[in-house]
């Protein structure tokens, strides 16, 4: 299945996020690798996804799971070779799967040769590649992101006897984007991977590229200028490629990252995700409709990227204090589940392994406007290990079977890069791909089904959205429309059965066809359209005028 040539392919994509290290170990060293991932591409194709997003695989001291890059033009030896990566890329493309890789623009590892040069002397040519200062009092208005580990955005470097700027861990010095040489070099890095055939970049931590006194050093105009320049070069030199922004910001602050369709193609909708969890727990559509009402229109060529969980904590930066307290109380009663301003748990464990809620959340993920991202393992309901530090609890080995090392690796168990999940509920003997493949009603089979249904219409990826506001606030209902294709989505956020009356008079005469079973429902008439819904049930109807 060759790649489709549509330049807007990302609008129809279903992205699977995976870390090479976690997926499959082909050489028995306890660490997942490119060859292992390549061997599992058939599984991903069978699942129905058509893009994979790989977390950083570059040489790195791995003090931040690869987001501390020490060399941008190579791969970490634990994962294989550049040639292995090329083969993976080729194999993915053969299956119609595009490959998105990480590009950490904002900072490097302190082990990167650039930083080693930069700190070595005030006169070194690389000195100005990072942000240095004699004091730690500049840019006072800038928040600290990793509150649990950092007390300042400045770190003292005893080698050069000055402070360097870092927005994340102190071992991740920020690059100085006021330096044209840095900008040029980072484009060169991107070119290196684009020429190899990479389809897209997830650009990490983009709001923080530039610093200016008297600001909060986020979302600055100068940052947008740099990003637009990258986009311009991309469009000029490479066709059909895509840039995805990681900018954990409010919708109004996110909007500029799309520019006039000349900056990012896609951006994560960070504020929506916690509100989906909130709406589910509150049994109330308000948090979801409220944030989507506040979400500005984006250029036609652009797309939101939606997710339920990812490799990081469930971030609660983009909620109010009251909402954050609520989320903590509802989803992270134990303090060990909390990290920074978030909750470090997986989807299934957040939802108490309730199959109905897992399905409902995935149903919303697949039907709200945007491109959905599935975090590896969530398609089978993998759990987490909150006893592992930082965010490692949600980065445990993929559970392929109930056999040795969950089928992830032939290595001695002690050599695995991280312990396997072994608890009775989420452990690999109970939750694994092999078992779920064999079961017609497994979550994996259900995920395959919903992806198939999602891909059966372009309305979800490209259509407009119009919320219906039935008087029953437990029901989240909307219409997705693309041309004559109209899909009605009705979600019951409640744990109890609900009745709802929908105003569908505009569609009088249409026959709702339930998309999972292709069954007809009564024709829409003049009266409010009455539906009764079971707990956490959702419907997707294609409205057909026949």
């Amino acid at each position: 299945m060759p790649l489709n040539k549509d330049a807007l392919w990302y609008k129809d994509a279903i992205i699977y996020q995976v870390h090479v290290r976690t997926f499959y170990d082909s050489n028995g060293d306890g660490i997942g690798d490119f060859q292992g991932l390549e061997q599992k591409l058939d599984y991903l194709q069978e699942l129905g996804i058509n893009a994979i997003w790989l977390m950083p695989f570059f040489p790195s001291p791995l003090r931040d799971d690869g987001y501390d890059i020490a060399d941008y033009n190579a791969v970490h030896s634990s994962y294989g070779t550049l040639e292995d990566f090329r083969k993976l890329l080729e194999s993915a493309h053969e299956r119609g799967i595009r490959v998105i890789i990480e590009m950490v623009l904002n900072h490097t590892s302190d082990q990167h040769p650039w930083f080693q040069q930069s700190r070595s002397s005030q006169n070194n040519p690389y000195r100005d590649w990072y942000v240095w200062s004699d004091t730690d009092t500049r840019y006072k208005g800038t928040r600290i992101i990793f509150l649990d580990t950092e007390t300042s955005n400045w770190a003292w470097d005893p080698t050069s006897k000055s402070f360097y700027w870092h927005r994340f861990f102190s071992h991740q010095p920020d690059l100085n984007y006021d330096n044209p040489a840095v900008r040029e070099q980072m484009w060169n890095v991107m070119t290196f991977w684009l020429e190899m055939g990479v389809d897209a970049f997830r650009l990490d931590a983009v709001p923080y590229l530039v610093e200016r006194e008297g600001t909060n050093c986020e979302n600055l105009p100068e940052t947008h200028t740099i990003l637009k320049d990258l986009r311009r070069k991309l469009d000029e030199q490479f066709t059909g490629r895509m840039l995805l922004a990681e900018a954990n910001q409010w919708p109004a602050d996110l909007r500029p990252y799309f520019g006039d369709g000349d900056e990012f193609h896609m951006a994560f909708h960070f504020p929506l995700m916690p509100r989906m969890f909130m709406g589910l727990k509150l049994e109330d559509r308000k948090p979801i409709t409220e944030i989507l009402q506040q979400t500005p229109e984006i250029p036609p060529s652009c797309q939101w990227s939606l997710f339920l969980r990812n490799h990081d904590e469930l971030t609660l930066e983009m909620v109010t204090d009251m909402e954050r307290d609520y989320m903590y109380d509802m989803y992270a009663e134990s303090k060990t589940m909390r990290l920074n301003l978030g909750i470090r748990r997986r989807l299934a464990s957040l939802l108490n392994n309730d199959r109905r809620r897992i399905e409902l959340m995935n149903g919303m993920l697949m039907s709200l406007p945007g491109t959905p991202i599935i975090y590896y393992g969530d398609e089978i309901g993998m759990g987490d290990n909150i006893l592992l530090g930082d965010r490692n609890g949600v980065r445990t080995p993929m559970q392929w079977s109930g056999g040795w090392n969950s089928g992830f690796s032939n290595a001695e168990t002690e050599r695995l890069y991280a312990p396997l999940i072994q608890d009775p509920v989420y452990g690999y003997p109970a939750v694994n791909v092999l078992a779920q493949r064999e079961s017609e009603h497994s979550l994996l089979r259900w995920m395959q089904r919903i992806i198939t249904v999602r891909r059966s219409t372009g309305a979800f990826g490209r259509g407009s959205i119009e919320f219906l506001y039935p008087a029953n606030h437990r029901i989240l209902a909307y219409l997705r429309k693309l041309g004559k294709d109209v899909v009605l989505v009705v979600n019951n956020l409640s744990s109890t059965a609900q009745a709802v009356e929908l105003d569908l008079r505009r569609y009088k005469g249409n026959i709702p066809i339930e998309m999972f079973g292709n069954n007809m429902f009564p024709r829409v008439g003049d009266l409010p359209y009455l539906l009764t819904m079971g707990p956490y049930q959702f419907y997707w109807f294609r409205l057909r005028r026949i």
């Binding site: 109330d284 308000k286 009251m322 008087a471």
Partner: protein
């Protein structure tokens, strides 16, 4: 569910859409357009501030407003509250409205609220008055939290009132209920109070709604039902109590709603109150009562004249109701001049008790009995005003306490009359 059939289909549909709630705020209205906006904002702020995570609904039951009151209630957006109060609603806050035909008796509105509370399985409910113009958002917490958090079933308010405000309460209802039922509830008849679902459901299931209105004074019946049912009752101090300016209410309808209800309840509650000795305070958050002492012009002369005229004109009625010594006592003080006039606590208590006993016996029409007490109450008020004209708050409290003790002391006298009738 015969009891629920009085709800309209439209209202039921609205209730279905609201679904189960934690907090229910009942708001009975009738032509309250001038004040309802601020009251609803207060309620919304109270919910957002005190119960941001709870599922809440405001239920307006309107008795035929012609000034657009229901539309105002349902039309006020919570977003209007948010910027001013810096509060954010996690949830949808429903405001729904229904109306009822016929007489705007409070009983119908309250019955509707009770039915809604039961259907929505509300954990804690509150009734708010559309006329409490100075209500504060924290009133909701004060009336709801003891129910929602501490397991009480009824929360009645106490207020900061002028010492001459609520004279029927201080001179009759409070001391008599205290003496008979043994519970020191300062405001047993009040337009705002909180209650639990179990109390509401029990009361809803009682007989007495058959006439479709539930009768007037249902709030007092509700309080008495809580006491006699052994429910947990407490008081919560709300603060200053103001209400909209309006024409002075005719005393007789008020007596019907309060004294009439109380006298009527004594009949059915005899097995309870006849066994009560003394009285106990109820748990109270904040002050038991606070009195304001601002100077106030009162026409005691007119009160005394109305008393004397009543005693003279209703002599034949009183002969049916009162014992000869009590009637003689009243006639004696009716003949006194303005300076000498004094309606003592003992004589007042005996009067009230004899009225209660006569009411039970129905010596004459019960409504006439209630009407007949009006001039006597005015006489008692005249004395109360005189006694407390220059009194401090403590002195006023001492006088009220003295009256309460007199009601308690003479309770055997009431029991004796009651039993002799049996």
């Amino acid at each position: 569910m015969e009891d629920e059939t009085f709800l309209t289909d439209d209202f039921l549909r609205q209730l279905i859409n609201v679904g189960e709630v934690d907090i229910l705020v009942g708001l009975p209205t009738r032509n309250n357009a001038k004040t309802i906006g601020s009251i609803v904002h207060t309620i919304q702020s109270g919910i957002l501030g005190g119960f941001p995570r709870e599922r809440a609904v405001i239920i307006n039951v309107d008795g035929g407003s012609r000034d657009g009151t229901p539309e105002l209630v349902t039309g006020i957006s919570i977003d209007d509250v948010r910027p001013a109060s810096n509060l954010h609603a996690l949830r949808t806050l429903h405001s729904i409205s229904t109306n009822y035909a016929g007489s705007p008796e409070s009983g119908v509105a309250f019955r509707t609220i009770l039915a809604a509370a039961e259907l929505l399985r509300a954990k804690a409910c509150i009734v708010m008055s559309p006329e409490s113009v100075n209500s504060e958002s924290d009133w909701l917490s004060k009336l709801l939290r003891p129910i929602y958090r501490d397991g009480f079933d009824l929360v009645t308010p106490t207020y900061r009132r002028h010492k001459f405000d609520g004279l029927l309460m201080t001179n009759l209802l409070y001391p008599m209920i205290r003496a008979l039922y043994g519970v020191r509830i300062r405001e047993a008849f009040t337009p705002e109070f909180g209650f639990s679902n179990r109390l509401g459901s029990q009361f809803l299931g009682q007989n007495g709604w058959a006439d479709g209105t539930g009768g007037s004074g249902v709030e007092l019946r509700f309080t008495l039902a809580a006491i006699t049912g052994g429910y947990r009752v407490c008081q919560s101090f709300l603060g200053k109590k103001d209400h909209v300016e309006r024409r002075a209410a005719d005393l007789v309808p008020t007596l019907r709603q309060t004294v009439g209800v109380l006298f009527s309840a004594l009949e059915s509650d005899f097995s309870v109150w006849s066994k009560v000795v003394g009285s106990q305070p109820v748990p109270t958050t904040g002050s038991d009562q606070e009195l304001l002492l601002d100077p106030m012009r009162v026409n005691r002369k007119r009160l005394r004249q109305m008393f004397s005229t009543g005693v003279a004109e209703l002599q034949s009625v009183f002969q049916s109701i009162l014992s000869p010594p009590t009637l003689e006592g009243l006639q004696r003080i009716a003949a006194l001049g303005e300076e000498e006039f004094h309606y003592s606590a003992e004589l007042w208590v005996r009067t009230v008790y004899e009225f209660a006993a006569s009411y039970q016996k129905s010596v004459i029409s019960r409504d006439h009995i209630i009407q007949a007490i009006a001039p006597l109450f005015r006489g008692r008020v005249c004395t109360f005003l005189g006694e407390n004209r220059n009194a401090s708050a403590n002195d006023v409290e001492t006088n009220i306490e003295g009256l309460c003790l007199e009601f308690e002391r003479l309770k055997p006298y009431l029991l004796q009359m009651w039993k002799s009738r049996e």
